[in-house]
Structures are given as structure tokens and as C-alpha cells.
């Protein structure tokens, strides 16, 4: 009997395992296309980028491994450090202003307004226009000889000569930041608006009955409830600003005297225009720690969700 039982159990167990195995196999099979795409289009280029940063590869010529040679060279490169400063300044200022104005716009659009749908569509416009086209428009707006801003201000008698928007380093930095803000606000505003609409009105009603002021309602209801979406929006906003290329390349090409060069544009200039792929890749690699920091910010920001759902933070 024992033998028979054993025989009876064994096939059953085998069948269970086979099913279990096949489920796993099926799952793995379903994941294969996604994994292949991630490997081929994300992991491989990223790995290759890291590898190139450790070589002296030039376009069209196989390089050799030089360890941290590119990074050591960059550490002594004044242009590189200027560009790191430019990138940080550009990202921090543009991201903060985009967040502040985006949140303000989202709060406004969340109110009962006439033509609300139309206004929301209008707010999205800067995001809809292709970046290169808006960059060319800004290039004209900031032109040292033909700027519409300068023209209007002169006509109004407020200034007497055209403003040198792009020919003076600090003017140029502020000018490209303004262009980035204009282009980036819709993304922040519309996403935060979506977040605002998920907050239950009953919370506001209860707070109003308790005599909470508008500021208190914002501070103690809106802001905490919006925190997860703010974390996501700001992560993307910081990432997109930090890696900006098109606006700079079209408006200034990194000038004047590299004052608006960002790490992405310098990487392109050295790798593609200059032909030194290894050094260009090293500059791109140097962006990774900053990008990782932004992702970690998002990760820890999202953890707060647990607290909002009643768990411990």
C-alpha cells in the first residue's frame, strides 16, 4: 500500500509541479519581449555608454581601455566645471520656478472658472509646440538686433538700446532658463491639476466647517494629499531639465563663452562634433549620479503614500 500510495502521490505531485513549472515558464515567456526590449534599448546602450567613458574611442575608430583617464582629464577641465555649474543652476532655478508657477496655475484651473476647458487647452500649448520650433521663436525673441521685447520696450520709452539677451553670460543664462520655464510649466500644471482633482471635496468641506482658512486648507489638506504626485512630477521635471538639449543647441549652442552649455550639449559637442566619443560618453556618465539622486528623491517621496493610506511612514 505504502508503495502504491507513494506511486499515487508521486504522479499528483509531479502534475502539480508541472503546472507550477509551466506557470513560471509561461510567466517568463510573457516577460521575455519586455525584457528583451529593456536589454537591447536600455541596458545595452547604458552599459556601452559606461564602457565608452572608460575608453579613448573616437568616431570611426575602436578605442582602448584607459580606466578613469577621461574623468581625470575632465576634472582638470575648466570648461567642464563651468558646464556642471551651468547645468545645476539651470536645473535648480528652472525646476523651482516651474513648480511654483505650475502649482499656482493648477490651483487656478481647479477653481470654477468660465471657459475652463479652453483655458486648460491653452495652458498645454507650449508643451504641444515642437521644442525646436519654440526654440527658434525664442532665438528671434532674444536676438540682439531684432528682439521684439527690446523693440516694445524702446517704443514704450523704457529703454534706449536693445537688450543683449544672449551676448552677455548672465543675461544668456536667465534667457534660456526663461525659455525652459515657458516650455515646462504645462507639464507640471496639468499633472498637478490631475492630482488636485483626486482630492475628495468632503475633506475641504469638513475643514471649512471646522473654520479652517484657505491657507490652512492648502497647507494641511492640498499639500499632503498632493505630495506623491508632486514627487513624481518634480522627478520628471528635474530629469527633463537636467538633460535639456534642444533649447540650448538651437538658441545659443552653448555660448556665449560656454555660459549656457549644459552637460548634454557639451557631451554632444565633444563626442559628435569633435569626434571624441570616449570623452563625450564620460561627460554623459558624469550626469548619472545627479539623475540617480533625482530618482531616489522620487522613490522616497512615493513612500509617503503608505502613511497617507494609514500605514506607518
Amino acid at each position: 500500500m505504502a508503495v502504491e500510495t507513494h506511486r499515487l502521490v508521486q504522479p499528483g505531485r509531479r502534475a502539480g509541479w508541472a503546472f507550477h513549472d509551466s506557470r513560471h515558464r509561461l510567466g517568463a515567456l510573457f516577460m521575455l519581449p519586455a525584457a528583451a526590449i529593456l536589454l537591447v534599448f536600455l541596458a545595452y546602450p547604458l552599459g556601452l555608454g559606461f564602457w565608452l567613458g572608460l575608453t579613448d574611442t573616437k568616431i570611426g575608430e575602436a578605442g582602448r581601455f584607459i580606466g578613469l583617464g577621461n574623468f581625470i582629464s575632465l576634472a582638470h577641465d575648466t570648461v567642464f566645471w563651468l558646464v556642471v555649474f551651468n547645468t545645476m543652476f539651470y536645473t535648480v532655478v528652472a525646476s523651482i520656478v516651474k513648480f511654483a508657477l505650475g502649482l499656482y496655475l493648477a490651483l487656478l484651473l481647479n477653481e470654477r472658472l468660465p471657459f475652463k476647458s479652453l483655458l486648460r487647452a491653452v495652458v498645454l500649448l507650449p508643451f504641444v509646440v515642437p521644442t525646436v520650433l519654440s526654440a527658434i521663436a525664442f532665438w528671434w525673441i532674444y536676438d540682439s538686433q531684432f528682439s521684439i521685447i527690446s523693440w516694445v520696450l524702446i517704443r514704450l520709452g523704457l529703454i534706449h538700446r536693445y537688450i543683449d539677451f544672449l551676448g552677455e553670460p548672465w543675461n544668456a543664462r536667465w534667457a534660456v532658463i526663461a525659455a525652459n520655464i515657458w516650455r515646462g510649466i504645462p507639464f507640471v500644471a496639468i499633472t498637478l491639476l490631475a492630482g488636485l482633482q483626486t482630492i475628495s471635496p468632503s475633506l475641504y468641506e469638513a475643514a471649512t466647517l471646522d473654520g479652517a482658512s484657505a491657507w490652512q486648507r492648502f497647507r494641511h489638506i492640498t499639500l499632503p494629499m498632493l505630495t506623491p504626485i508632486i514627487a513624481v512630477v518634480m522627478t520628471f521635471s528635474v530629469l527633463l531639465t537636467f538633460t535639456d538639449f534642444q533649447l540650448i543647441y538651437t538658441i545659443t549652442r552653448g555660448g556665449p563663452i560656454n555660459a549656457t552649455h549644459l552637460m548634454a550639449t557639451l557631451s554632444f559637442q565633444r563626442a559628435i562634433t569633435g569626434g571624441y566619443l570616449g570623452e563625450g560618453a564620460a561627460i554623459a556618465d558624469a550626469m548619472v549620479p545627479f539623475l540617480l539622486a533625482a530618482i531616489l528623491f522620487s522613490y522616497f517621496g512615493l513612500q509617503r503614500r503608505r502613511w497617507q493610506q494609514g500605514s506607518r511612514d
Binding site: 579613448d56 573616437k58 568616431i59 570611426g60 575608430e61 575602436a62 582629464s73 582638470h76 577641465d77 575648466t78 570648461v79 532674444y142 536676438d143 540682439s144 538686433q145 531684432f146 538700446r161 536693445y162 543683449d164 539677451f165 544672449l166 551676448g167 552677455e168 553670460p169 544668456a172 545659443t252 549652442r253 552653448g254 555660448g255 556665449p256 563663452i257 560656454n258 559637442q269 565633444r270 559628435i272 562634433t273 569633435g274 569626434g275 571624441y276
Partner: protein, 438 residues
């Protein structure tokens, strides 16, 4: 030159041949008979720089079509902006696949000379038939004694100026010496028609005038052995001169890109700038009376000569090269020969409005250069330039120094007062060393 007819073009061809024979311009090597026999059933892919003048590509494509009709060889021509041709050429060389022929810029073929078909027989044939190659074009085409590329021409930059403006400043023509030129620019500034030379990351315009200024003062990025020699008194002298010149500039030149001076000149804001013939062509062909008036009131001149005591201009040079991976190298050479022959090349020169100047001396006889005297200063561009990376060899480092705007940034730092000239030269030398030492 819209005034020229096909008859003029044919005459140009005859004149070219007659001039070469009559003037006793013996070829650099005795003219070899061309015996190229294309492979049967050949088909070619050509990648070239994207046109700036419509007549250029129209003529180029018409001649290509004629070649196909005569030989049966199909040719597909793709165009890219010349900054994009460079990486594509390098990748093609690296992977061993791509266009059969690429027409690229400056140092391109010197990055992968061993991957290119030897064009010596073709260059000797053309040089022998058309009066020889200009020295700088020979330098852009040869490595040692071997021709690795066939120079197509030079995109010449000249001084573009308003005739009335320089007269108002007390000058009849552009001075040919540096002090005189500075005095003219100061005069132009004081009479309200300032000067403008690009100091932004303008690949063409900014590199053109800053290299001229550096070289004409005797400065250079490297010596013949590729030692970086930028941190030198000659460079400082060039930067000090440029600083004085920059005081006469219209505002905003630190941000100028290639189209900026064209716009400012055509808007009547500038008395003088450095540019190709494109400003004049646009003004002349315009129906706008204001632009027509500018065309009538403008002219061109060579850049002045400084302590170097020779022409030291820097211009983009275009060259065609054939890859060894091509299945049809003989057909490719036959195509290049056809396109460089007088019938096609003269037509192309005329339709391009002088945007490109010839690499072969006989084509200087094209009537387009003299039919309108304002074209003439562009004619001998190839005789006035120094090769990129002078006085060192052409290659990765010379291309990278230009691609990274090292000379332009050095001038921008000095001209803006961001750095004293000595410090700007030293910083630029450090940047250049990184490329020449790799």
C-alpha cells in the same frame, strides 16, 4: 550668376582648355589619358553636404542625371548638413558599409585614410587637364604622395562691406594691413555703421575670422610636429588686436551664430562683416528694393595681411572620397571624373553663384568670376587659405579642436574681457593639449 547662359558655360569650358594650353600651364604631371572602365551593372550611393544655394544642388543633380544617361550607372544622392556628414562618414568607415562616395569637409578623410580608395590616378588626370590643384587643396587631398580625397572646392569667406559706409569713414577701399583695417573699423563704429564678426559658436563665420586673426599674427595652435604652441606672444598679440577690433562691434556678437551677421547686414545694421557670398546673392536676387539697394552698395575684399606676411585665411574645404568597401570603386571614380570635368564643373560653379570656389586652377577662368566684379574676391579663395590645424597634420585632433570651438572661445574670452589675452591663450592651449596628447 543668373546673367550667364549655357553658351557662356560652353565658352567657359573652351576657354578653360585654351587657357591651360595657350598659357603653357603645363600640368603638375603630364596629362594622363583617362581609361577608367566602370564595373558592369554598377550603382552608386553618394552622400554629400546639404546645399545652401539652390542652384548648387540643381546643377549637381542635373549632371548626375546626365552621367546616368551616358553610362547607365544609377546614382542615388543623399544630402545632410555638413556637420552631420562627418559622423556618418566616420561610422561608414568603421563598420565598412554605407555610401560609396562621401563629399565631406576639411579633415574628414584623414581620420580613416586606410579605408579609402587611392584616387591618385584620377587626381593626376584632372590636375593635368585643368591647370593643376591649388596647394591647399592638394594638402586636403593627399596623404604623403597618395590622393585619398578629391577636393571639390572651398567655401570662401571675404570681408563684406557697405561702400557708402567705408566712404563715410574716410576710406575708398578695404586696407590690406592690420592697423589700417582697425582704423577703418573704428571709423565705421564712430559713423554709426558698426562692424560685426561672430564670436558665438558659429561653425563657419566664427572659425573663419578668428583663425585668420590668429594666423596673420603668426600664431598657431600647433607646430609642424603637433606640439601645442598656442600659449605664445603671437597669440597674445592676435588677441590684443581682436580686443580692439571687438570694441568696434555691434552688440550681441558673442551670441552670434552663422546666420546672425547675414540678418544684421541685410537689415542695414552693419557696415562690415566676414561672410561668404551668400549675403550678396540674397540681396541681389531679392525683389525687395531695400535689399537691391544693399546689393548695389556692397562689395567684397580679402582679409588684411599681418605680421605673417602672407594670406592666412581659414575656410571650409569640401572633398569627395571613395570607400574601399564599395563594390564599384571604378564606377565611383568615373562618376567623380565626370562631375569634375569642365562641362559639369563650370555649370556647377555658375549655378552656385560662386558659393564654392574651385580647387583646380583652370576653373578660375570661369566668366562668372569676372562678369560681376563683386564675385572676383571669392575666386582665389583656395590660394589664400591655410589648412585646418595649421601648421600640424590634418586628423582627429585638428578636427576636434575646431569642433570644440577652442580658438573661437579663446577670442571670445579676450574680446569680452572675461579673461586677459595671456590667460585666454593659456587656457586654450591647455584645452588643445588634451586633444593633441591623446
Amino acid at each position: 550668376m543668373n546673367d550667364l547662359t549655357r553658351r557662356d558655360v560652353l565658352k567657359a569650358g573652351v576657354a578653360t582648355t585654351a587657357a591651360v594650353a595657350g598659357a603653357g600651364l603645363m600640368p603638375e604631371t603630364a596629362q594622363a589619358a583617362w581609361t577608367g572602365q566602370p564595373e558592369p551593372n554598377a550603382a552608386l550611393r553618394v552622400l554629400r553636404w546639404k546645399q545652401f544655394v539652390q542652384g548648387d544642388i540643381d546643377s549637381f543633380m542635373a549632371s548626375t542625371k546626365k552621367f546616368t544617361e551616358q553610362t547607365g550607372i544609377k546614382v542615388r544622392v543623399d544630402t545632410e548638413s555638413w556637420e552631420d556628414v562627418r559622423p556618418k562618414a566616420a561610422v561608414a568607415a568603421n563598420v565598412g558599409a554605407g555610401p560609396d562616395i562621401i563629399i565631406g569637409t576639411n579633415d574628414d578623410p584623414f581620420k580613416f585614410p586606410e579605408k579609402l580608395v587611392d584616387l591618385t590616378d584620377l587626381a593626376d588626370y584632372l590636375g593635368g587637364k585643368y591647370g593643376g590643384w591649388y596647394d591647399t587643396c592638394r594638402a586636403y587631398g593627399t596623404q604623403g604622395r597618395r590622393w585619398i580625397a578629391l577636393p571639390q572646392g572651398v567655401n570662401v569667406s571675404c570681408i563684406n562691406y557697405r561702400i557708402s559706409a567705408i566712404k563715410k569713414a574716410g576710406f575708398e577701399k578695404i586696407p590690406e594691413d592690420l592697423p589700417g583695417f582697425l582704423k577703418l573699423c573704428q571709423g565705421l563704429k564712430s559713423t554709426g555703421t558698426p562692424v560685426g564678426f561672430a564670436l558665438g559658436h558659429a561653425t563657419g563665420d566664427a572659425n573663419n575670422w578668428t583663425h585668420w586673426c590668429l594666423w596673420t599674427h603668426g600664431g598657431k595652435v600647433v607646430d609642424a610636429k603637433s606640439n601645442v604652441t598656442l600659449d605664445a606672444p603671437e597669440t597674445v598679440a592676435a588677441l590684443e588686436y581682436a580686443k580692439q577690433l571687438a570694441d568696434t562691434f555691434i552688440q550681441g556678437t558673442l551670441s552670434w551664430q552663422d546666420p546672425s551677421n547675414n540678418k544684421a547686414f541685410l537689415a542695414g545694421e552693419l557696415g562690415l562683416t566676414g561672410n561668404g557670398i551668400s549675403i550678396y546673392v540674397v540681396a541681389k536676387n531679392s525683389t525687395d528694393p531695400a535689399l537691391k539697394a544693399i546689393a548695389a552698395d556692397m562689395d567684397h575684399a580679402r582679409y588684411p595681411i599681418g605680421p605673417a606676411k602672407k594670406f592666412t585665411e581659414q575656410n571650409l574645404t569640401l572633398s569627395a572620397f571613395v570607400f574601399k568597401y564599395s563594390k564599384y570603386p571604378k564606377a565611383a571614380k568615373e562618376y567623380l571624373r565626370f562631375m569634375w570635368e569642365a562641362d559639369q564643373y563650370n555649370d556647377w560653379l555658375i549655378k552656385s553663384n560662386g558659393y564654392i570656389s574651385q580647387p583646380l586652377k583652370a576653373y578660375a577662368n570661369n566668366p562668372m568670376w569676372t562678369a560681376d566684379p563683386k564675385n572676383t574676391p571669392f575666386r582665389d579663395g583656395a590660394d589664400r587659405i591655410l589648412v585646418n590645424g595649421y601648421a600640424g597634420p590634418l586628423g582627429y585632433a585638428s578636427a576636434a579642436v575646431m569642433g570644440d570651438f577652442i580658438v573661437v572661445d579663446m577670442f571670445a574670452e579676450a574680446c569680452s574681457g572675461t579673461q586677459p589675452p595671456k590667460a585666454a591663450a593659456s587656457r586654450a592651449a591647455d584645452r588643445a593639449k588634451r586633444y593633441y596628447l591623446v
